[in-house]
């Protein structure tokens, strides 16, 4: 395995264990490592890849696949995918058995109570990092907030919201506003 592929694995495999609450919680750290530590891309390119990863159906952690592909082609995509998914999948298999056996135990409530605020803080930190790096300026930030409101108050498919966002920006461009 080349040096680059090894580094990709070293970036994503530890983060995998932190995606138990969902892929969104590690986006801030993926950005930090990919942009600031390894200089594989600019923060603008990172936000573009993030947007593309949300345009297609599938788990949010697939962002890793796209980054791997961008950084090291086909094998990069494979290695990054294994890195982000495999460790947590194995962990869950072990945990799920134990969890079912002791369903409702006090230590489970303690774990849930303890993990909840950390997970929320992680996801909000990712959002903060993303919003700060949005390239479309305040209009893009406004759009992000508007789409949040739509998603939280309606049952519209997220995919539609992203497509609508693109449509809005293309229209604004057509009339010369962006």
């Amino acid at each position: 395995m080349s040096e680059l592929l090894r580094t990709l694995l070293a970036v994503f495999a530890p983060l995998s264990l932190l995606t138990i609450g969902g892929g969104q919680s590690v986006v801030a750290d993926i950005q930090r490592q990919v942009v600031d530590v390894h200089h594989w891309m600019t923060s603008r390119e990172f936000v573009d890849l993030f947007a593309i990863s949300r345009m297609t159906p599938g788990p949010g952690s697939l962002l890793a696949t796209l980054i791997g592909w961008h950084v090291a082609g086909f094998w990069g995509a494979i290695v990054a995918t294994i890195g982000i998914f495999a460790p947590t999948a194995f962990l869950i298999f072990g945990l799920a058995h134990i969890w079912r056996r002791y369903s409702g135990a006090r230590w489970q409530r303690v774990l849930e109570t303890g993990l909840r605020p950390v997970a929320a803080g992680m996801i909000l930190a990712s959002v903060y990092v993303l919003i700060r790096t949005l390239d479309g300026g305040w209009l893009a930030q406004l759009l992000a907030i508007a789409s949040t409101a739509v998603l939280m108050t309606t049952r519209v498919n997220p995919f539609v919201v992203v497509l609508a966002g693109m449509g809005i920006f293309i229209s604004l461009h057509a009339v010369g506003l962006v």
């Binding site: 998914f85 993990l115 992680m122 909000l124 209009l139 992000a144 919201v161």
Partner: protein, 123 residues
């Protein structure tokens, strides 16, 4: 399981229904196919990079950040309105989002503190 993610949920359901082959089938269905589709879309955008409209469209895809924000707010709403959980949520946010501390260490510390405090306060 608390806040288990979609992929693991799918793999687990596949396993419960059809054993190992079910788990593998779920994995292929939820990761490999969407992954290939995504790389395809990514390639498309890269090949259209010469056009202004591509960048404009990607700027508009900023709406995608709304997905993360709505998830974050939902998660935050489920945090009990008490001093300790709120303080831990804010501290985690600041350490990762503002101070850019390495995630693994920041989370290890906050998980340890949070679970220890939950242990002391949970009946």
């Amino acid at each position: 399981m608390p806040g288990i993610n979609v992929t693991n949920m799918a793999i687990w359901i596949g396993y419960r229904l059809r054993g190992n082959s079910g788990a593998i089938a779920s994995f292929l269905g939820i990761i490999v196919l969407p992954g290939m589709l995504m790389v395809l879309v990514g390639t498309l955008f890269t090949s259209l990079q010469g056009f202004d409209i591509t960048h404009i469209a990607l700027d508009g895809a900023a709406a995608a950040v709304g997905l993360s924000l709505s998830l974050g707010l939902t998660a935050a709403r489920r945090v009990p309105r008490k001093v300790i959980p709120m303080a831990i949520m804010v501290a985690t946010f600041v350490a990762i989002g503002v101070l850019h501390w390495p995630l693994v260490w920041a989370v290890l510390v906050s998980v340890f503190v949070s679970i220890a405090l939950a242990h002391l306060t949970t009946a």
